[in-house]
């Protein structure tokens, strides 16, 4: 900080200050400039029902202020935006996830439907403090209940919270380890020594997050942008409130837009040779009065042959491009059009599902097969990072 001292002699009688006053001005110049990180703009199509709270948490804002001030939000190079949203992905390889992750923990994640949210980086979150967090969260829940804020059926005797780490999901060394949270409670009328039941579970994860972004985060922040929850909404709200208070972060709903649903449909269809997807179901909603749902269930082998015909010869086995994905969906739409003369792109793709998993536009995901978890989580981590306000 540099100080400038100036003195202004006031001798005008009309002036308020009659005598000599010394006014001291402080000018602050940020001495340190963080290297300009790649501008983060969530400029993919703005989701239609976007009710993003643009509030940024205070400490995050202060740390990022220098960077943000140095660059302008109005500076949007089309090239930069194109780099952000991937135009190609690696083809999912079936991997035995149980080699990396404890099978019991894998069982906690699969075959259940999760509601997705994004969360901004957590300030001073420590993986070593999980036991303390468990106690803090359960104390918070009890106090909220006593205040009458928890809108839960008052049958539970008390909540027990369990924070644990799921090792092995992180792909790069910049990914933070996944944290799994369970809320257990005992029912009032259960037997004395009955084990408490899990009433809510959730997990925070980051799989193959954007390396440039993760490297640019200050050291005190841990980024686990994808938050999956399952259980009563009132408990979800409680957990989010505690996180927001403790780690100065900000949650928001994460939907899965039509493009990502198409990616998921293609990725899963591509797995058919290795594991039978049994069916490919796509649901569109058309904006008629009253609204109409069109469900198109395709035979798996036929779907796979259509997908295979889209795979261009010159691309490598490993990567899939967005053109192939859109071509695949367009093929299905045109076959539909040939019969019904209804253009499905007048509506929106709401849900896709196969035996490997299902996904809904409102931000629900269900992974049925553990072999493709990393690919799906990587896609979802990316969605979460893109959706976050800077």
């Amino acid at each position: 900080m540099m100080l400038y001292l100036t003195t202004f002699p006031y001798q005008d009688s009309s002036c308020i200050m009659g005598k000599r006053e010394v006014q001291i001005h402080f000018l602050t110049l940020p001495v340190l400039f963080f290297s300009v990180m790649e501008e983060r703009k969530s400029t993919e199509e703005t989701p239609r029902n976007n009710a993003l709270a643009q509030r940024r948490s205070k400490s995050y804002r202060q740390s990022m202020r220098s960077c943000v001030e140095a660059t302008h939000l109005t500076y949007t190079s089309g090239l930069l935006t194109a780099l952000r949203i991937p135009r190609s992905r690696k083809a999912p390889k079936s991997c035995d996830i149980t080699k990396q992750v404890d099978p019991d923990q894998v069982a906690l994640l699969v075959k259940k439907e999760w509601q997705l949210s994004y969360v901004t980086p957590l300030y001073q979150f420590r993986h070593t403090q999980l036991k303390s967090y468990s106690k803090q969260l359960s104390a918070f829940m009890v106090s909220e209940k006593q205040q009458g804020l928890a809108i839960e059926v008052g049958q539970e005797l008390g909540f027990k919270v369990n924070f644990s780490v799921v090792l092995g999901l992180a792909e790069t060394d910049k990914d933070a380890e996944t944290v799994f949270i369970q809320i257990l409670s005992k029912q009032v009328f259960s037997a004395k020594d009955a084990a408490p039941k899990v009433v809510w579970s959730g997990w925070l994860t980051c799989v193959n997050g954007d390396l440039d972004y993760l490297r640019s985060l200050p050291l005190e922040f841990v980024s686990l942008p994808l938050f999956c929850t399952r259980g009563p909404e009132s408990l979800t709200v409680l957990v989010k409130t505690w996180f927001e208070k403790t780690f100065d972060c900000c949650f928001g709903p994460l939907g899965i837009n039509s493009t990502n649903l198409q990616w998921l449909a293609s990725l899963w269809t591509g797995c058919h040779p290795t594991i039978n997807i049994q069916y490919l179901k796509l649901v569109w909603t058309l904006p008629t009065l009253p609204p109409m749902d069109v469900t198109y269930t395709v035979h798996p082998q036929d779907a796979w042959e259509l997908w295979d015909s889209m795979r261009q010869v010159d691309t490598t086995e490993d990567s899939i491009s967005i053109d192939e994905v859109t071509g695949f969906i367009k093929g299905l739409q045109s076959h539909f059009f040939r019969h019904f003369r209804i253009d499905l792109s007048a509506g929106s793709l709401m849900q896709i599902s196969t035996a490997l998993g299902s996904s809904h536009h409102s931000g629900k995901i269900k992974i049925a097969s553990p072999n493709y978890i990393p690919t799906i989580l990587q896609l979802l981590t990316e969605c979460a990072l893109l959706k976050m306000p800077i």
Binding site: V294, V298, H299, D302, E305, H339
Partner: protein
């Protein structure tokens, strides 16, 4: 009156809304006028129920009388459950129509042959429909009256509507003969699923009615002719005015994939298999809007207009046709 009968009456009383009670009981005609007058309909329902129970005991009313009351209520208010409509095939045009009493006997005889403990009630409502109530039991237990099946057959039409039929008893009902006008119920096509046991053929008007919207002479609609054409085709295909409430239509596609941009798949011999399901709270309304707003290209494909023309909502589409 035994406990189960009381229970049936209590459940029924809970179902019937208070404002309809008086008319229902009046129509029922099993209570004398004095008894009916003695019921105070301003009291809370549970008090009324107790009073009614006492009256029924006095009059020695039994289950079959209670079920009559239920039937009256359902006939007046059919829009409660889900009705599944069927179209009976093999209608023989010159089959002699039989007397209602004969039909009743035959139906009862047929059904009791298949399952010994059933309770059947057949009633003719005005001149248009026959209502049948079936309470199912099995070889060892008495009929269970709390989950009856109702069947409505509209005379002069090949349509039959059923509600409350579980898959357990479906084959039994299928086997009984709908001998009236010689229709065989063995060949049924699932026609429709909706809230009311009626299928009205949507009207086909040549021109939709002009809207009474005052048009400013200075406003000229660019696409007026196209919009008009689309609306006309939509109404021709699906009907005008209020449409019957259809909820679902299912198409099983077994046609070959043919897309000029995709050379690989177009040459395939095997069909591109899939199932398409359209669902909406009022499907015909949605489809009509789809056509009139331009989401569907005109002329309307015969696949969609078949729903109303053929009166069906399940189709298998092959390369040879519907």
């Amino acid at each position: 009156m035994d406990d189960s009968t009381k229970h049936i009456l209590q459940r029924l009383m809970r179902r019937i809304p208070s404002q309809m009670l008086q008319t229902m009981l009046g129509k029922w005609a099993h209570l004398s006028r004095e008894d009916l007058h003695s019921l105070d309909f301003t009291q809370p329902k549970w008090v009324l129920t107790e009073h009614l129970l006492a009256l029924c005991e006095e009059n020695g009313l039994r289950v079959k009388h209670i079920t009559e009351l239920e039937m009256i209520y359902i006939i007046e208010n059919p829009n409660q459950g889900m009705w599944h409509g069927f179209q009976l095939l093999d209608a023989e045009e010159d089959a002699p129509s039989i007397e209602l009493t004969q039909f009743k006997e035959q139906f009862k005889a047929n059904l009791t042959e298949l399952i010994s403990h059933v309770s059947i009630k057949i009633k003719k409502h005005t001149d248009e429909a026959i209502w049948i109530r079936v309470a199912w039991g099995d070889n060892f237990t008495k009929p269970y009256h709390l989950k009856p099946t109702y069947v409505v057959h509209h005379l002069q039409t090949p349509y039959v509507f059923v509600t409350g039929l579980t898959s357990k008893y479906k084959p039994l009902l299928n086997q009984t003969e709908f001998c009236h006008t010689g229709l065989s119920s063995g060949h049924k096509i699932w026609l429709y699923e909706g809230r009311s046991p009626q299928w009205t053929e949507p009207h086909r008007h040549q021109r939709p009615s002009d809207e009474a919207v005052p048009t400013d002479p200075n406003i000229e609609k660019e696409q007026a002719e196209n919009t008009e054409n689309r609306l006309q085709m939509a109404c021709e295909a699906f009907g005008d005015g209020t449409l019957p409430q259809l909820q679902k239509a299912v198409y099983k596609l077994e046609t070959k994939f043919r897309d000029n941009s995709n050379k690989t798949l177009t040459g395939r011999e095997e069909p591109f298999r899939g199932v398409v399901e359209f669902a909406s709270t009022n499907l015909l309304e949605s489809l009509r809007h789809c056509v009139s707003s331009g989401m569907a290209s005109t002329p309307v494909t015969p696949l969609l207009s078949s729903i109303t023309q053929k009166g069906r909502n399940y189709f298998v589409i092959t390369d040879k046709g519907v």
